[in-house]
């Protein structure tokens, strides 16, 4: 196709490919499309866009995964993130989505993925879980929440307690939440030993609270997330733990029990009631 007739579409496809895969074009092709300046050749001018394309997106990835970046060190994080951006360029008008597929990408491309499950390297599991955790926090930060409306207080009876909309449950193979908190405080935490950790995350007054859970608490909240009522979930817990329902109910409602703690943390709303003011 001659220079005069090349379509706008073709030139845009060419330029975009040249940004994402700088090797996809040649000096000859660059000179066909772009003029040199007094100081720079056409390819050097294009190079400004090529460099800033990755630098800008990598900076954004560091901001979305600060603890993972800390754990891997800047160089290794940058290597992984750059490969990720090459494999999954942004498909959204918003940079908020940039890191969406990163945890999944790390899982798919783990260096030991073809090995036996037992032979897998645990640091890789840690990185993947930390990425999942940071992505989850990022989503909760900006998801529609319950601010401006009533959260449940301690007087609300169980049968009308409902999980609030800006809430997530997760379990990890490592204590990623405490690692994250250490990085947040500016410490330099060591690679943590393997250890199952379960967390609930709920946003109240634009602050995402991270609640560490026992396996029973996690199972209980999972039942609520599936739409079951609290009374049913307590019964099922009692059955599974071979405890009496009365005992489980007492520990649920104890003065310093989880009911009080979770209500205070903003885990629940009052089903069907959304007042104009939030209870802080």
């Amino acid at each position: 196709m001659s220079e005069d007739t090349i379509s706008l579409d073709a030139i845009q496809v060419w330029l975009q490919n040249a940004l994402i895969s700088p090797g996809s074009t040649s000096c000859q092709e660059i000179e066909k499309h772009l003029r040199p300046s007094a100081q720079l050749k056409a390819a050097q001018r294009l190079g400004i866009y090529q460099r800033s394309y990755y630098l800008r997106l990598l900076q954004c990835m560091r901001e979305q995964f600060p603890a993972l970046c800390h754990a891997l060190g800047d160089q290794l994080f940058t290597d992984f993130a750059r490969e990720y951006l090459q494999a999954y360029p942004s498909e959204s008008y918003t940079l908020y989505e940039l890191g969406r597929r990163f945890p999944q990408y790390l899982e798919q491309t783990r260096p030991d993925k073809d090995g036996l499950q037992q032979a897998r390297e645990s640091w890789v599991d840690f990185m993947i879980d930390l990425a999942r955790f940071e992505r989850q926090l990022f989503v909760l930060f900006d998801a529609p929440g319950h601010e401006g409306k009533l959260l449940a207080d301690r007087t609300v009876p169980d049968h009308v307690l409902q999980l609030q909309p800006c809430f997530a449950l997760a379990d990890y193979r490592f204590p990623v939440a405490s690692y994250y908190q250490q990085v947040r405080k500016g410490n330099n935490p060591a690679f943590p030993p393997e250890g199952h950790s379960m967390v609930a995350m709920a946003r109240k007054n634009y602050l995402t609270r991270i609640l560490l859970l026992t396996p029973t608490q996690h199972a209980f909240l999972t039942l609520l997330q599936q739409g079951h009522e609290i009374a049913y979930a307590l019964e099922l817990m009692a059955l599974q733990l071979t405890l009496t329902v009365e005992y489980v109910y007492e520990s649920w409602t104890a003065p310093d029990g989880i009911r009080k703690r979770w209500i205070d943390a903003g885990v629940f709303i009052h089903k069907g009631i959304c007042g104009p003011e939030s209870i802080v």
Binding site: Q16, S52, Y93, I210
Partner: protein
């Protein structure tokens, strides 16, 4: 529709949110990056609502991609329209650029070959966008680092024709004029003299980085004197319009940004002397161009751990 001169404003940035919401500084107006708020159901949305109640606010986009050959994203436009209604945006601006094709967003403001073909393409899309939004679009001259061999029109001529055909309006980024003129070896003063200033309703100012062979639009420092001098000329030619400082990297405290844009007052009067728009000879190592209004939402600051 004529727009009022909103005065001297600042780009709304995450690191200033707490200061603004507690001190309510006496700044004339704010400009918010649309994409940082349009999907938000959290803290950023809360902040922009509060800001909109206290200050005039304009929305400035970076992903409209008006020049792309990809179909317009009406889901994006719908969210933009909703946000504009919610915050009573004084106007909605974006750039004369494209950000991606084939479903990809480069998150860069990529230039177009300035041809009759591009003009026809962009004019058609501006008309569609304006129809959908029910208001005029405001388009900004981008900072550019390349020039297409295909280009047959100057940017001022391209924009003048676009305004004539579509009724859209313009945001003149004076720093971008300086940056692009240096990078393409053209004359910044000449650019302003050729620019269709009658369509300009807003100006941008920002700092840049001089790398010797080229200039990068970094938005990470104070405005260069030469750019202020160009602003003096642009102020004369536009008759004075709402002006705003963009600061996106190494952002100092709010009051320092505010003091920087208030310097504009010193350049609203007095004679323009072309000799003051000199090319500086300083050189620095290149950093990232920063046209996008960086996303630093401070997620870490908004989390709190509680014991099991």
């Amino acid at each position: 529709m004529p727009h009022s001169n909103l005065g001297l404003g600042l780009g709304l940035r995450n690191c200033h949110f707490n200061h603004i919401l507690s001190a309510w500084p006496a700044v004339d107006w704010f400009e918010a990056i649309s994409e940082n708020f349009m999907d938000s159901g959290g803290w950023p949305r809360h902040v922009i609502r509060q800001v909109a109640e206290h200050y005039p606010l304009a929305l400035h986009g970076v992903s409209l991609s008006i020049g792309s050959t990809e179909p317009l994203n009406f889901d994006y436009l719908k969210k933009l329209k909703n946000l504009a209604t919610e915050v009573q945006a004084a106007w909605i601006s974006d750039h004369l650029c494209w950000t991606g094709v084939q479903g990809i967003n480069s998150h860069d403001l990529l230039p177009l070959p300035l041809t009759e073909q591009s003009l026809k393409h962009v004019a058609g899309r501006v008309a569609q966008v304006q129809d959908f939004l029910g208001r005029e679009l405001v388009l900004e001259n981008p900072s550019t680092y390349i020039t297409f061999t295909q280009s047959t029109l100057s940017e001022p001529d391209f924009l003048r024709e676009l305004c004539k055909q579509t009724g859209c309006q313009l945001l003149l980024d004076v720093n971008n004029v300086y940056v692009s003129a240096f990078n393409s070896g053209t004359d910044a003063i000449d650019y302003i003299e050729q620019f269709p200033c009658e369509y300009v309703i807003q100006m941008h100012l920002a700092g840049h980085q001089h790398c010797g062979t080229h200039i990068i639009d970094t938005h990470d420092r104070t405005v260069r004197t030469a750019v202020w001098e160009l602003f003096r000329l642009a102020w004369l030619r536009t008759g004075g319009v709402a002006s705003l400082l963009e600061w996106d990297g190494n952002i100092p405290p709010f009051e320092q940004c505010h003091a920087e844009i208030l310097k504009a007052k010193d350049y609203m009067l007095g004679e323009f002397d072309p000799a003051n728009v000199a090319i500086s000879s300083e050189t620095e190592k290149e950093t990232i161009s920063n046209p996008v209004g960086f996303l630093v939402p401070g997620v870490m600051d908004r989390t709190q751990a509680e014991g099991a």
